[in-house]
Symmetry: C2
Subunit: 341 residues, 2 copies
DNA sequence: TAGAGTGGCTAATACGTATTGCTTGGAGCA
DNA sequence: TGCTCCAAGCAATACGTATTAGCCACTCTA
């Protein structure tokens, strides 16, 4: 008797009620079309079920449907980090919220080994397929892993826009940084700004590349861009002023803070002498001295919709697998008309 | 063809490797006793598995009562909340850390429906058994659910000490609040304090009951205890002073902050006129005006050891299933010798 | 050369449930 | 009587995996 004691099955119920297991199952899922059970039989079965407190084993149930109602969450860093908490949690909150609504459990792939500081999806014994599908979270995701996922036809959705991997479209729910950034440039232009500068790492990840793209589109191709080649904020400020820029768009908030301090050290007031626009709320905790003008990223909504999209894909209902959400402009205190000469 | 696209089965692997499903299963769970597979066959199968990224369906595995390297995490509130983040995350970080070390994935039971503001473990279609075992997280856990878990012989570990449920011992990894609190009283006594007061909700949850117990044990049974029946901090302060207490031990940090403000409003200095001891670091984000003397709760370590204990239980190695960890005293600035009359 | 032993693999089965046909007995009708 | 039709229920099967009990070909022993 290998059966765990006390675990009732439909067979037990059937025996007690003097019917077959099939009948028990039919009574339980009484489907309107095939209600082929006599009322008194049904009542007898239900009584036994009530008396025994029987509950169907959800595992066996789910085995027949092909979906396990398990959604994977893969993060390229620990899920519960001390750092970059501000970056991850809003996404995760949205993911959790939507998973709860759709009755799915979330599987965190903590078993993925860390190599060179980040987790790897594909490794000896990867357990991706334990889940029905997976949400991928991370600033930069190796395109090799992405293309393999697509090739293997594994259902997944990235949080954040991704370039095609090996020419294959990657499903994602991202934020429209291109438009959001261009919009900020236009806004500054409307105030009278004519020369703009961009501070950011450049096209290292899609999110940064999109901001740069939006900047270039709105400000012009040949406009100043300051990146990692000039790490010192004082140097950066020099360069920006030398170029005659009156409005600076900054990718990372920490860079904006540094730039602000450099400006103050030089006796410049923000925004009267120089406007600073932050392209998104902080990804790492930052003590910002100012309330920066710019936009916020709809992180929680991105998480929500990523799960929604994945669920649709799993049910074969998804037609469009790439979604961009709009960012919300933020009225801060760091944008003003340019200084008059 | 009802098969979900992309879900590989052992049959697929078998076909690709030119062997039977049985062989695939044997290779996967290579058990030393019955490992009668030729090395080259084994290698061939393993190669196919690597190439396809196959992973066994956790539900099917669990149906045959096997371990899945999946540990459940049940929280009575959302895992990624905006509030009480400070309360949960250290535990979760420890849990994640230990799960990663033991090569397990974490399953968040987001599918549990919310009733009356908290999640329920047991409901129609509870999916507890998808995981090998479960870590339970929450300030107060309904003892009905605990006793049912114990009765059903489901492997689980609570984070935080729990009373017996229906006379059944509950496995836990908790913090020794009794000793930690008593130690604080003794420390104050060593400085000259003779009369103590306790501010807290009383025995509503085990964690609070233990603090009160530690207080009574060290300060005496008939010492003043102020709880919810006197919610106003000013009233509380009156009562405390009237009782002649010179040191107050406070359960919740937020209450300590309120009390501090009431004392200031009355012209009292802390700690010169009144010593305040906080029994644990904040569970909700609080702007503390002072660096409170008291102790910190080893939350991360509790999370780690909860997973460790669960893992041992799953492998039948756990002898003691209840563990109490010591709290670390904190030198703050709110404890001083009592005022001289 | 028969028998025993062994290595290497597979067929069959079990887990608990949902679903698809099939059986049975009886009623309705010509 | 012969036929259809229907209600009521059941046997059989499928889901994906682990395990048990073999089967087969070969080698070693006597």
């Amino acid at each position: 008797m290998p059966q765990a004691p006390g675990r009732l099955t439909q067979r037990d119920i059937a025996r007690l009620a003097g019917v077959s297991q099939t009948t028990v199952s039919l009574v339980l899922n009484n489907r309107p079309d095939a209600a082929r059970i006599a009322p008194e039989t049904r009542e007898r079965v239900l009584r036994v079920i009530r008396e025994t407190g029987y509950a169907a084993d959800p595992l066996a149930r789910r085995m027949l449907k092909q979906l396990n109602q398990i959604l994977g969450v893969f993060t390229y860093e620990p899920v519960f980090p001390s750092t970059s908490a501000d970056f991850y949690y809003p996404f995760l909150r949205g993911i959790e919220e939507s998973a709860e609504l759709s009755g799915c459990d979330l599987l965190l792939f903590t078993s993925a080994p860390v190599q060179d500081g980040i987790r790897r999806i594909f490794h000896e014994n990867n357990r991706l397929r334990v889940a029905d599908g997976c949400v991928l979270l991370g600033r930069a995701i190796p395109s090799a892993e992405l293309s393999r996922l697509v090739t293997e036809d594994y259902p997944f959705v990235c949080v954040g826009r991704r370039d095609d991997a090996d020419g294959l479209a990657v499903p994602y729910v991202g934020a429209d940084y291109v438009s959001a950034t261009a919009e900020q440039v236009d806004r500054a232009r409307a105030l009278g700004h004519e020369r703009f500068a961009f501070v950011g790492p450049g096209a290292v990840a899609e999110s940064s590349a999109d901001r740069l793209e939006g900047f270039r589109r709105a400000a012009g191709e040949d406009t100043l861009q300051v990146g990692v080649e000039l790490p010192d904020p004082v140097d950066r400020l020099e360069r920006i002023l030398a170029a005659g820029a009156t409005a600076v768009l900054v990718d990372f908030l920490s860079d904006a803070v540094e730039l602000t301090e450099a400006a103050r050290g030089r006796g410049l007031r923000i925004p009267e002498d120089l406007s600073v626009i932050a392209l998104g709320d902080p990804t790492t905790p930052v003590d910002a001295p100012l309330d920066y003008t710019g936009f916020t990223i709809p992180r929680q909504e991105m998480g929500r919709q990523a799960v929604d999209l994945l669920t649709e894909m799993l049910h074969g209902q998804a037609t469009v697998t790439q979604r961009l959400l709009a960012c919300r402009p933020v009225e801060g205190e760091t944008l003003a008309p340019p200084p008059r000469h």
